[in-house]
Amino acid sequence: MTLTMGGAHRPGATRQSGAADTSGAAARAVDVWKVYGSGEAEVAALRGVSVGLERGRYTAIMGPSGSGKSTLMHCLAGLDSVTRGEVYVGDTLITGLGDRGLTDLRRDKVGFIFQQFNLLPTLTAEENILLPLSIAGRKPDRQWYDTVIDTVGLRDRLRHRPTQLSGGQQQRVACARALVSRPDVIFADEPTGNLDSRSGAEVLGFLRNSVRQFGQTIVMVTHDANAASYADRVIFLADGQIVDELREPTAEAVLDTMKNLDTMAAVA
């Protein structure tokens, strides 16, 4: 069961209680459990998480370290299997899919942006961007491709190799790669974790744009309240459970909620 915490109302933040209505979501988890190890060493990284990620929305996942953010994201993205529960990407039930099915799903329906090492050093920026499409043997939609390139502002860097790009530029290439195949959902795990604040802001702004302008669905794990404030919705995880959620968050609201979670953890 999803456990939702009540709490103080904050200005500028819409609060929603109870289980999310998950139908028509770009991806959703239904009572997902993830248990690592067994016996003494057993760790439950997710304990009955149900969440729907709305289409065309920018969702951030926050929570203390070790709360299960990455695990949730991996399970939603078909990178990891769940111990119990069900995960859907679009309308596809992915729990129980084999490696081949999951791989193809990731290739066709999911985009990724990792914290670092997003790019293949042997390929140019352009080749990196087109990689998921070439793996699938699909032709890029030229117009869409041009739009993406212009949005990330990389047109003059397309022939460069990753080592010739700055960290911010590399992350923008990663964003373009995730976008260009028009996946159902893009997952980003601390995409700005390694960037200075200016490059970080560029990337975050770009991600928000792609949601606003192109209706892309994005899920982002982050530690940074400021980064989370770019999102339409923030989900808070603690101890493997969803404990709170904010809509249209501001950085202050996010910080408050985090503080709140910390004090609660301290009290507990």
């Binding site: 990178l79 490696d99 293949l120 042997t122 990689l131 793996i135 699938a136 080592t163």
Partner: protein, 848 residues
Amino acid sequence: MLRATLKSVLSRKLRLVLSGLAVVLGVMFVSGAFVLTDTLGRSFDSLFAGVYAGTDVAVTAKPAVAGVDSGERPTNLPADLVAKVRSVPGVATATGVAQADGARVIGGNGKVVTTMGAPRLGTNWTGTSDLVQLREGRGPQAADEIAVNAALAKAAGIKVGDRVGVLTLQPKKTFTLVGIFGYSGDRDSIGGSMFVAFTEPVAQELMLGAKGTYSSIDVTAAPGQSPEKVRDAVRAEVGGGYEVKTGKELQAATVDSFRQGLSFFNNILLGFAGVALFVGVFLILNTFSIIVAQRTRELALMRAVGASRRQMIGAVLVEAAAIGLVASVVGLAAGIGVGAGLAYVFGHVGGTDLPLASIGVPAAAVIGAFGVGLVVTLVAALLPALRASRIPPVAALQEAATPDRPLTKITVAGGLMSAAGATVGGYGLSGKAGDSTMWLIMAGVLVSFIGVALLTPVLARPVVSVLGRLFSWSVPGKLGRLNSGRNPRRTAITAAALMVGLALITGVNVILSSVTATLHKQGDTLVKADLIVSGEQMAEMPPTFDPAVLDKMRGIPGVRDVAGEYYDRATLNGQGWGVDVVTDLPAMARMFPLNAKEGSIGPLGPDQLAIDEAHAKILNLHAGSTVTVQLSRGAPHTMTVAAVLAKNDVFNSIMLSPSVVGDLRVPQPSWAYVRVVPGADVAAVRAQIDRLLADSPEVNVTDRSGYIQQQTKQFDAVLMMIQVLLALAILIAVLGIVNTLALSVLERTRELGLLRAIGLRRGQVMRMVTVESVVISVFGALLGLAVGCGLGAAVVRALRSEGITSLALPWSQMGVYLVLAGVVGVVAAVLPAVRAARINVLGAIAHE
């Protein structure tokens, strides 16, 4: 520091195993060679034990012709010498022995029984002894009876009571087999030799060519007489024309000659072990380079916390020494196994039944194993160790990306070394180097290999990118190609290791195919004979056939010319040469277009000879000069040069008049050349000749191209053997590819994780690794083929003066090698590819 190093070695077991394997294989070959030859050597010792037990002293004639194997003594002892020796004080018995090589038994299948180089002796039956024991039947008593040793009976598939055809100095004669004998210790044969025992007069006639003569006299000393004393007494009695030796001396000489053969064999094995180890150096060098590159951060951290440069070198070298040591132990153990296995195979091949001595591990094997294992590993690790010591401490704090070091220096060095190697090798090939020719050629090849290996990184980029285009139609193919091009040094060394083995094989191939092509060309344009009678030469003397066939062939309708050729060795003015006796010189001259430079070509009269230009020059002979010719038998002839023949591309020889046939060791022809009249049915003539040869199973009649094929057939065996022996070097190179790929996969864990995350299927990952592997191995093969062609062409060029005029590249063979290299690439990729495909996606992208 030491403990830290050993820990790091043990924590990388796979790497240890892979880089160690190259050393293990090389060491195995080295120690196996020593174990094999030691075991065989001691087996021979016991094999010949007792062979001369019943002989205290033996008397033989000095060979008439210099340069003939000491085992062959066609010069006979007169019968009265036996009585003379018997009368020497101290001699108890003196037995005349009439024995010679060349008793060829026709087996149950109609084919002549052959041996693996051991003699096929015909002898007089002197009864049983401590050594010779009848197994079945009895000794021969009538002129048409024989006994044979058990090994021969088995190989021929004959039993007592059978009628058996035997070829000797005379054409086929048929005997009844009345007995089968073996030797003390239940041996079927001594050293694989085959024995046919005749009655004494028959043995004298068929084996020695004259009744009332012997080849040697076996003497036993009277009780209380030492063999040495008796030897001296006999020597004093018979005079200087004879050799008198004790049984012990003879035994030592026999064993010695076998051991010499063995040590030659040992050297060949060690040579191939050397090639394998040379390739192993590439593999180890590469492994350590990759390891050092991958551990840059770790090593820099050590430097940062205060390890000195010397300690860094030490750390890498200790790791190498540990690997070398373990590999030497394993290699030695494996070598003992391989040596024992090979000894067994040698002991039982081709019907020989060698009772093996216990497997021995000579000190040389142990010293060789550890010396080679350690030295090779340390030498190979030296460069990476130096590189490790140059890592600056700040590297610990930087991104671990290995910068692309420029290839200028290495390319210049490679160019210089290749040029030096080519110069040295070229000088060796030019034949001006005398005794050191062989060494110069080998050094030249070795240095050239290193030079080409150094040039390889520069070649890697363009060649790999061209090769890779073949695979670029798919994303995995493209990624694989890019991966193989991303570290040119690594790719280059891996490919160069494969190059070495293939270059040697291709070089030999080029030489052999050029010789074959030359023979075919000469056969077609220069030989006018329509049919040729010949056999496959397995021993020192070529096979022979009944001389009566020559006359009968002349009688076949449609035959225009027949020329028969006999072969023997002779001494001309004191120098040993191979000589021919030609039945019809004018006919022979028409077969090979021979032209007189001096004198004229006509039938050779008694005591006349014709000689080719080159021999004439060496012997300083001209038309009309006389020369003293000593043949295997009889007194020296003073012969006159009737003609000096102009140089011919095919046939250059010293040809003696048919009048001396009786003095040849085997008075039977080995070859015959036949021309038919124009328009005659060659096939019909051939069928008739075939019938005439029914009793001469050692030879057959073929047309020109069949004859040339027969000549070149032995090349296939040579090539096969070289391929088998070099297969080890290639196997090590394949290990090198596996190792490089495995380490690369390890290094690219993150990338693989990323690729899998964004949708590359397992199968596609495997294909990516496979393409990388195939690109590397095909690159190596191309290098090998190119270098091999260069090598072969250089040798062929040098052989031009020997009459090898065509250079033929074995395209189809080379195509096969290239395809095989592709297959090798696929096979080498299997394990790394599986490993890559199994990578845990989450672990790969999450771990930092």
